[in-house]
Amino acid sequence: MNTILSLGFILLVGLLFAKIIGKFKFPSVTAYLVIGIIIGPSIFNVISKNVTGMSGFISTVALSIIAFSIGQNFSRENFRQIGKTILWISILEACGAWLIVTFVFLVILHQPFYIAILFGAISSATAPAATLMVIREYKAKGVFTNTLLGVVAIDDAWCLLIFSVSLAISKAIHANLVAPSFLMQAFFASILGISGSFLLGGITAWCLSYLSRYIHTPAELLTYTLGFILLNSGIASAFNLSVLLANMVMGALLVNINKEPSKFFDSLHSVDSPIYLVFFVLAGASLEVNLLLKLGIMGICYVIFRVAGKMLGAYAGGKISGAPMAVRRYLGLGLVPQAGVALGAALVAKTDFPAVGGIIITTIVATTVVYELFGPFCTKIALEKAGDIEIGK
């Protein structure tokens, strides 16, 4: 299949499959992933190698848009609205999964630290779309639902932050493994990478906001916003900075310095759906079936300890902020689904560490399918236990 035909095929088959499994109340992301696995090189191998080879490029573009959009969660109004309970729980459940998964991969699975910390960071992500779907389907209402919604809304922002920091540490450690004073070098290299990303995101946000006075039509606005996102990502890549962090900072700063920030984020809605679709299908196609058998204990540990970390972290956050007992006990269970941001992060890790990239992406794609199939069920149980939906509804 040639490149154009492959892309057309991916878009139409992805859309069709999403519609079919939507009837069974599964999110579209699951459909895209599964169809990607089926049509990818591991099973039917029907898509062009040129297209699978483009997955790095497409995931960078998709992740840049995702990171920029997630940045808008850092508006002053949002922080006023979410309150301390959501803030504490979201930070601690993300950090809980990060620390526990890193620890387990390092100590129990004997993985090198630079790999363990990446798995830990990826595990901090959730799937807001899947959680929201369950909440809407069962018409859940109450304090627990509001807290859960607030936590999933902001959680992926913490994940991107944690992943960017972890990736910088991981790269620095990997690059300096042979040097005698590698710890200090690694520390300074990661600090430099992170602060450079902040600085770049800040500068581009200011330029984007200031120059927008010359933009007068919605069509120009889309071109302008997309142009700045790609510019930001391109500069970040050229200077070995974090594309994710630079774009998230750009979105976060823009939402606080511009008088009408929504227009920039809204303008992207007209193009983001097909980009996300191709991104997820190609993520699914990256799964290597032969590695799946080797996953075994690693995949099981990831699935179990990610949930354990989220539950412990959510409990701790709930206790510190004085949340009701139902929120402390069951909120972690509501955070089981994992999707887009985790996959994106895994694809970035694959690009930066090609030698171990296969096992990282295969673990994350396989566990995402598991989490997306069973996660919504866990969220439903959490909502039932908390009393926000009727049992057996």
Binding site: Q72, E77, D272
Partner: protein, 160 residues
């Protein structure tokens, strides 16, 4: 030929209806149900400072999911069609929900001393057809719609 500059303050509607943060959904609907189409409702503090706006979209969304503002940054959300016949509403909610729960907290607005041309550009790029107008202290002083702009231009051209 010398073209007279038109300002927002010359053209905007000055008689406006506002609500405060504590106005219940029930009284809000009573106040506006005789309108032909649902208007953009400005929410103001007691001193008239604009703190939010409510459109029909915000009212409907409150019955779907709490916290529309919070979830707007979530990527790849399934853009499901809203079924207004299947909204989960009970009669108490007319009194339970107040304007503060419904309103968009970072509202778009125009300043009085904006030219009509700039106001039109702002509306067009934000895809809205009505915006509240505020003075230098942020107090609401009027509302400006796209039609007001058209009428004033037609008037200036001598069309009526």
């Amino acid at each position: 030929m010398d073209k007279k500059v038109l300002w927002v303050s010359n053209v905007m509607a000055k008689e406006i209806i506002t609500v405060t943060r504590g106005t219940t959904l029930s009284s809000l609907l009573k106040k506006f149900h005789k309108f032909h189409t649902f208007p953009l409702i400005p929410v103001v503090e007691k001193d008239g400072r604009l703190v939010g706006t409510i459109s029909f979209k915000e009212i409907v969304e409150i019955f779907r999911t709490k916290g529309l503002e919070l979830i707007k940054g979530i990527p790849f959300l399934d853009k499901d069609e809203l079924d207004i016949f299947d909204l989960d509403i009970n009669e108490d909610e007319g009194l339970l929900f107040v304007a503060e729960d419904l309103m968009k907290t970072k509202p778009l607005f125009l300043e009085e001393e904006t030219t009509l041309e700039d106001a039109y550009k702002t509306m067009k790029i934000n895809s809205v057809d009505v915006m509240p107008v505020v003075d230098k202290e942020g107090r609401i002083t009027g509302m400006l719609g796209i039609f007001d702009i058209f009428v004033s231009i037609f008037k200036q051209k001598g069309l009526f």
